[in-house]
């Protein structure tokens, strides 16, 4: 018996050690170094002296940076909300699609992942800019409308003024929603797919309308998936820096842009580390909230 337990222990170690080592070496250690930096100060141009100071955190908690944190949370929040509003019907459609179509629809959702984020962002620039495809389309529609009006003897519309779609906060939110939508759709799909369809039929049979069924049956049952989707979307959106950099206007600075500058141009790694960890503490808080919200629900998520 003893040997068998030992064997089991060995087998466990053999399978568990590589991933544990991986996590420690490539995740915990680097993270620990950055965490230590956040309590340090620059020593000359290239050294960081870990002195245990809280000065970086004190600086990071100034109203200037808190305001940028607040703005980032707001932008990420709006992004998440829009992803939920757009993603929920999409996930429902995939769940209720026929077996034949479902894999293709899922593929369509995942397809953008196969292209580099930067390339996708540049494609969006080509769509949104003043002389971009969105404005070309609108101009064409505008001119057709104008022509129709003259046809029925009315005054034509004035000259078309291109919409300013790029280099503002609107463009940042569009970019973030576009990039993060799959993060929302996939967990929603997973949750909705597990849902017992007979409950929906029962609800409809018992006289509830479609909307009532949706909000009283489907949404509560899919709640764990919705919460996961919200977190998986919100967390990366909060740390986005490429999108505000490339699509944003003069005031579209998010906290990740400030952090990036500390590690590059400003050459202030300790302060950058402190800002990063504040962001991480905020993320932990969100995940802790999720764990708290999930408490008391049976693991299968059907306990209402």
């Amino acid at each position: 018996m003893a040997t068998r337990t030992q064997e089991r222990r060995l087998a466990f170690l053999a399978t568990a050690l590589p991933p544990i080592a991986w996590v420690v070496v490539f995740f915990l250690v680097p993270l620990g170094i950055v965490w230590a930096y956040s309590f340090g100060q620059n020593q000359g141009l290239t050294e960081v002296d870990i002195s245990g100071t809280f000065a970086n955190y004190a600086r990071a908690l100034q109203p200037l940076y808190l305001q940028i944190f607040a703005k980032s949370i707001f932008v990420a929040g709006v992004t998440t909300l829009l992803c939920l509003i757009i993603g929920f019907p999409v996930a429902l459609a995939i769940v209720f699609a026929s077996e034949r179509w479902r894999p293709w629809m899922l593929l369509l959702i995942m397809l953008p992942f196969w292209t580099n984020l930067l390339i996708r962002t540049y494609a969006l620039i080509a769509v949104l800019r003043t002389e971009g495809y969105a404005n070309f389309t609108l101009e064409w529609l505008w001119n057709q409308g104008s022509w129709l009006l003259t046809l029925v003897g009315l005054q034509p519309l004035g000259d078309f003024t291109p919409l300013q779609l790029l280099y503002n906060n609107f463009a940042v939110v569009v970019g973030l929603v576009y990039v993060h939508l799959p993060f929302m759709v996939l967990p929603l799909y997973a949750a909705l797919d597990r849902l017992d369809k007979s409950l929906i039929e029962a609800s409809l049979d018992l006289g509830a309308g479609h909307f009532r069924t949706l909000f009283s049956i489907v949404v509560p049952l899919a709640l764990p998936g919705i919460l996961s989707g919200i977190i998986i979307t919100f967390v990366p959106a909060l740390g986005a820096y490429l999108t505000p950099d490339l699509l944003g206007g003069p005031d579209s600075q998010m906290i990740a842009n400030v952090i990036e500058r500390q590690f590059k141009r400003a050459n202030d790694w300790p302060f950058g580390a402190a800002l990063s960890f504040l962001l991480m503490y905020a993320t932990f808080a969100v995940i802790a909230f999720r764990a708290y919200a999930a408490r008391g629900q049976p693991a299968d998520g059907h306990g209402i």
């Binding site: 141009l45 300013q164 500058r261 141009r265």
Partner: protein
């Protein structure tokens, strides 16, 4: 980085932009390992060159191998910050690097550069004398040799401006071109050119001056369409803006495609930069590195490089070999009287860097 829809993804190969966004770092390009002539010296015939993208002549590296038998392995970096961040963690085997002038000074202070033995670089005689005497970031050229130089100015669309915008006023202090202006997002480049507009040296480290510039830019912000990541030439070319703060070399590249575009260095003067060749401490092949630097400073080699990259060259002997379209180009070589007012940025210390960065953060958050 992108331009008109049809060309949208044919990337401008500006060395300052292409890799930056990708965050890509070392893309090793191994040159074919042809057999080389017998090598006498103690070093193996190899050299690791860390350069900007599209910043070397088409055949320079092959020609060097032909001439010396030394095999050059080139990797690419996208920003000076990336170069500095890499080297501050220890030299991973680079022999020759191409830091900008401001970073040369930083690297000298951080003891990251190897002194150059001028006796082994006889081609230093080809360099225009002002690049030897006027190099406050590296007095006496002890650590770096000039490779290219560039100056920041205003690129503009001729048909959309009332007069030549030959003052920083049009970018920093006027609503005449509301919503059609883009400025650089780099704190140092932006604020220190404001110092010039305010009649001060761009190497002034007065916190008062930073405040003054910040107030001016905060007032100007509603008129600014974008803070660009060094891709101003694309914003100008695609018609997104009509005035843009950008380097002369970048604008010269798009003027070939669109003759409605021109460039002017503001009359108040501006920031100039020079990219240099230097040997980082710990280079595995320092002798080969000196040979390579000397080779690059050769007149014919320099001319071949300039033909490819179209940046202003400090190599007087090389410029003499170039066609008039390059030599007499007022964008590549702005008039001497305005260049006399331009300055190299000095590294003014961590406190100044921090004040500038905070001012930039406040400006963008306001």
């Amino acid at each position: 980085m992108t331009d008109a829809p049809a060309k949208s993804l044919t990337t401008r190969t500006s060395r300052r932009s292409i890799l930056k966004g990708l965050g890509a770092a070392a893309v090793g390009i191994s040159l074919s390992a042809k057999k080389y002539s017998a090598w006498a010296a103690g070093e193996e015939p190899k050299l690791n060159f860390y350069n900007w993208d599209t910043y070397i002549g088409e055949t320079t590296l092959e020609d060097f191998k032909e001439a010396s038998g030394i095999d050059v392995n080139m990797s690419l970096f996208a920003t000076n910050d990336e170069l500095f961040a890499k080297l501050r963690a220890g030299n991973q085997g680079y022999d020759v690097i191409v830091p900008g002038s401001e970073f040369v000074e930083r690297m000298i202070q951080a003891d990251l550069l190897e002194p150059l033995d001028h006796a082994k670089i006889p081609n230093i005689k080809n360099v225009a004398p002002e690049f030897i005497t006027d190099a406050p970031y590296d007095p006496g050229r002890k650590f770096s040799m000039p490779y290219t130089w560039l100056v920041i100015g205003i690129g503009y669309r001729k048909s959309k401006v009332k007069e030549i915008p030959d003052s920083w006023k049009w970018l920093f202090d006027s609503d005449a071109y509301k919503g059609r202006i883009a400025v650089m997002s780099d704190a140092s480049e932006l604020f220190r050119n404001c110092f010039k507009y305010l009649g001060q040296s761009l190497n002034s480290d007065s916190p008062e001056l930073i405040k003054q510039a910040e107030a001016m830019l905060t007032k100007q912000k509603p008129n600014i369409k974008a803070f660009h990541e060094d891709n101003g030439q694309d914003l100008l070319l695609s018609g997104e803006v009509d005035l843009v703060m950008e380097y002369n070399g970048d604008i010269a590249q798009i003027m070939v495609e669109d003759d409605d575009i021109d460039f002017v260095v503001p009359k108040e003067g501006a920031m100039k930069q020079s990219d240099t060749l230097a040997i980082p401490k710990g280079a595995p092949h320092p002798e080969n590195a000196l040979k390579f630097i000397n080779y690059i400073l050769d007149a014919k080699v320099g001319a071949a490089i300039s033909k490819t990259i179209q940046y202003p060259s400090p190599n007087a002997a090389a410029v003499a070999l170039m066609p008039a379209s390059y030599k007499d180009n007022k964008v590549i070589f702005p008039p001497a009287e305005v260049m006399a007012k331009c300055e190299y940025p000095r590294y003014l210390g961590p406190e100044f860097t921090r004040l500038l960065d905070e001012a930039m953060t406040r400006l963008r958050a306001s």
